[in-house]
Symmetry: C2
Subunit: 221 residues, 2 copies
DNA sequence: AACACACTTCGACCACCATCGAAGCATCCG
DNA sequence: CGGATGCTTCGATGGTGGTCGAAGTGTGTT
């Protein structure tokens, strides 16, 4: 609303997340896809008017960003840092819970904002590192450039964007890093396009096709 | 209270942090030193009875741990993961605030739970990496082992503890990683012992002595 | 044994804010 | 130019939870 950048303390930020309806909205948006106000109202289980009030607050605080499109307003997480902060909260919130069967799929593979997380995400990152496609400082090596191009990722186009190319993000289920940033997002997109994986429509889970590891390894050669 | 591990959702966790008094307590404990209930009541600006109620909730949720000592009860952050989660919140909460003069000391050097953060913390970590004292997977190299021993850190003793030896922690002011884990904590301890740095008693700030970088470099040789 | 100190429990009070429905705007469609 | 859809604003309501002081419990001190 007001254009000024708001000074926020940690309590004010936490109170935004502390409301169950808002938390459900944020969780829904952790999937990375932008959703309309109506969809978010449904996800949160509140009336449209209530949802509207919540969304205004989250947008004001720059936790969410709006993309207007026709008569729809699509809400998404403001950026990957917000997603990362939310993952950090989840890590603590779920730390004492021993994995129930319900979320085993999430632990296996899930979307973290716009890149791959979970066991498969960590596996992917460690593979890229050990094959020397990514240097220790997370720059793309010549070897990696060739590989990503084979995968269908336009590395040069990515590096022209303002977004950092490769970053790590601590995985709350594996407690080891996985790949984030523009490259992480692009890889997941290619995985979907190549049918190596597909989204579960009802959650953040990603269903990775069985021969994924083999396909990946083949492409490396 | 109850011995069972509580299932918590992200909203419940956030609501614990959302109260201003509790947030002030947590911030005070980010300094790493354990504090008594009375001290925390003072820091939060509430009556002892109110503070007691807050502290019970935070302890129940395993955000805090208690150390009984005589007729005092010392409260501290449960572990480094909790501290890291709080840093993540701070990163988002302060992201649009351009550095006021008041916190320039904090940006320069501060305690993050029990290790060094801020510009000096990031500098330290990058130095240890580039001198190959720490490998890319954050294990201690033979070269590093010798250096840390010279510094007065008993690496072998540290590696016998359950705590991970070296981890990274994203610095909210620098937005690059600094060193956490048992090694990070031990190094800061040695810096205090060697008078390379000293704590500011009123905040998380750390006053690093001017010749620190030179002393450090000399020891590397 | 008596006192002082550190902290907790209890009960009453009050403020904040999430919630809803109804009505108001805005945008697209026929 | 209606009419429908998507979303927001407004006003009223109610519950949750933070707050304090006073009294209670336990632990050292003299």
């Amino acid at each position: 609303m007001d254009g000024r950048l708001s000074l926020m303390d940690i309590a004010a930020l936490a109170s935004l997340i502390a409301d169950p309806a808002r938390a459900r909205m944020l969780s829904a948006l952790m999937g990375g896809t932008a959703l309309t106000a109506t969809e978010l109202a449904l996800a949160a289980g509140v009336a449209p008017s209530t949802a509207s009030s919540h969304l205004a607050k989250l947008t004001d605080a720059r936790l969410l960003a709006i993309e207007k499109q026709g008569r729809h307003r699509y809400f998404r997480l403001f950026d990957a840092d917000v997603a990362s902060m939310l993952e950090g909260l989840m890590e603590i919130a779920t730390r004492h819970v021993r994995t129930g069967p319900s979320d085993s799929a999430l632990r296996e593979a899930r979307v973290c904002y716009d890149h791959l997380a979970g066991a498969r995400g960590v596996w992917l990152f460690e593979n890229l590192r050990s094959r020397d496609f990514l240097s220790e400082t997370l720059t793309i090596t010549p070897l990696g450039h060739a590989f990503f191009t084979r995968l269908g990722v336009d590395v040069d186009a990515l590096s022209r964007t303002r977004r950092p190319l490769a970053r790590t993000c601590l995985d709350w289920s594996e407690r080891r890093p996985h790949l984030a940033g523009a490259l992480g997002a692009a890889i997941l997109q290619r995985m979907f396009a190549l049918r190596w994986a597909q989204r579960d429509m009802t959650s953040r889970a990603v269903i990775v096709e069985a021969p994924f590891a083999q396909l990946f390894t083949t492409l490396c050669a």
